[in-house]
């Protein structure tokens, strides 16, 4: 359980980091908080020639809460965002989601951008990003570009970032009025990766009908999975127990084969998804009526 040999670079700017990525042509790996990467190094599942540590780039460490958006520099520690009073107050869903990531001791070191760029399909931040229509800013040799969360997660541990691009920031829109939210997951032990989890957001029209629904599952596919058919079942209708039950059944039925592993079978995960979507929608509806 000791890492293999690698070189180590500490660029002081994003431009310098991009130049290093270009120079090592795919042999370099970016290091942010290391909460996923260093275990992989310890187990020798990753063997990069060089680690490019982004932690000395001060320009990537910031949080700004303004204009309906929580914008976060990629190297900001998860715990910093979680403990920021204005995030707690103005983006309670993001705050609640951050609290589900591993343990405080991991969040002290783990970064927002690191988790998003690592793109573990059982992680909370990618699902939150998809549910909230977050947008990502990436910098590369050709300049910067913006990528929508819907286009960012391609498959297991794979994003739309090119080998020479660096995720520099993410913008999480805040939720509008008359909108409720919930994030629910089940893990073997508190702090473990979820066997299944869901982020639900529902907006209500003045009539009381659901005007907008967002249901995004995690831990049950190769990326965060949007339950589009379930969302369509909900939209335009006044929610009652029967509607929530059919929406959650739909969300579970639409899952392509969820993972079977030592922790749970695909069938178990599918049923768990159904139960969690039901609970999350009910909780989100309660919040929407109060919001």
């Amino acid at each position: 359980m000791k890492p293999p040999i690698f070189d180590y670079a500490t660029p002081a700017s994003v431009a310098e980091a991009i130049a290093l990525l270009a120079r090592y042509e795919g042999e370099a790996k970016l290091l942010s908080g290391g909460q996923s990467l260093v275990p992989l190094l310890n187990m020798r599942l990753a063997r990069p020639a060089v680690l490019v540590d982004l932690a000395r780039i001060a320009a990537l460490d910031w949080v700004r809460v303004a204009d309906g958006v929580v914008a976060i520099g990629a190297m900001t520690r998860q715990r910093t965002v979680e403990l920021a009073p204005e995030v707690q107050e103005r983006h309670p869903l993001l705050h609640a989601g951050l609290q589900l990531i591993a343990h405080p001791q991991n969040r002290n070191q783990g970064t927002i951008g690191g988790s998003l760029a690592h793109a573990d399909p059982a992680a909370e931040l990618p699902a939150l990003a998809v549910a909230l229509d977050a947008s990502f800013e990436a910098a590369g040799p050709e300049g910067t570009r913006t990528v929508a969360a819907a286009d960012f997660f391609l498959t297991y541990l794979t994003t739309a970032l090119a080998a020479t691009e660096i995720l520099t920031s993410v913008r999480f829109p805040m939720l509008p009025a008359r909108t409720g939210w919930a994030i629910q997951e089940v893990a073997r032990r508190h702090g473990d990766f979820a066997l299944a989890g869901v982020v639900a957001v529902v907006g209500l029209a003045l009539s009381g009908a659901i005007s907008r629904a967002r249901v995004v599952l995690y831990g049950v596919g190769a990326t965060p999975v949007r339950a589009a058919a379930a969302e369509r079942l909900l939209e335009g209708h006044v929610a009652d127990a029967a509607l929530l039950a059919s929406a959650s059944a739909q969300a579970a039925a639409d899952l392509e084969e969820p993972l079977t592993d030592v922790h749970a079978s695909a069938d178990y995960r599918r049923d768990l998804a159904r139960v969690l979507v039901g609970r999350a929608l009910a909780e989100a509806m309660t919040r929407a009526h109060a919001a």
Binding site: N42, M43, N108
Partner: protein, 159 residues
């Protein structure tokens, strides 16, 4: 072919400098190079919490942090808790409440609790269990640890 890198850091108020291989984890650096073996190492992949130390005041897993990442940092390990022969109030509380049996998890736990109590003198029950939740203890069943935290809060308040 191994290249090394010169790093410097403050551990428990003392300044250290050393040449390390970039692949050296912080826990191996603390134990092997600095001889500070109070920090334990268990799972080596960030799960058990045995290796927890304070990095610039924040509790982190030193088995999944590289020593080079701590270059320039201020660290605190279990050796930094007591003042000479006088135990730190957290240590005294663990002793009085039997918050440890084999003691393998204890150094890491005490550092996490130290961070918590530095941030707030009156943590909620959820904050306490969240903090302890980042540590595996195979002996105590945790209840005695929770009691030790409450006693430590008392001791720190009346200190």
């Amino acid at each position: 072919m191994t290249s090394t890198r010169r790093i410097g850091m403050t551990v428990n108020g003392e300044r250290y400098e050393a040449d390390v291989e970039p692949r050296t984890t912080l826990v191996d650096f603390l134990r092997g190079t600095l001889g500070l073996t109070g920090t334990h190492v268990g799972c080596e992949h960030g799960v058990c919490g045995a290796c927890t130390v304070l990095w610039n005041g924040k509790a982190v897993r030193s088995c999944i942090m590289l020593a080079v990442q701590a270059d320039g940092a201020e660290l605190k390990t279990v050796e930094g808790l007591a003042r000479g022969a006088t135990l730190h109030p957290i240590q005294q509380a663990f002793l009085e409440k039997r918050g440890l049996q084999c003691g393998f998890c204890t150094p890491g736990l005490m550092l996490s609790i130290d961070e918590l109590l530095a941030r707030t003198s009156a943590p909620t029950d959820t904050e306490i269990t969240d903090t302890i939740g980042g540590h595996l203890c195979r002996c105590t069943g945790y209840q005695a640890i929770v009691e030790a935290v409450h006693l430590a809060i008392e001791k720190l308040r009346t200190k």
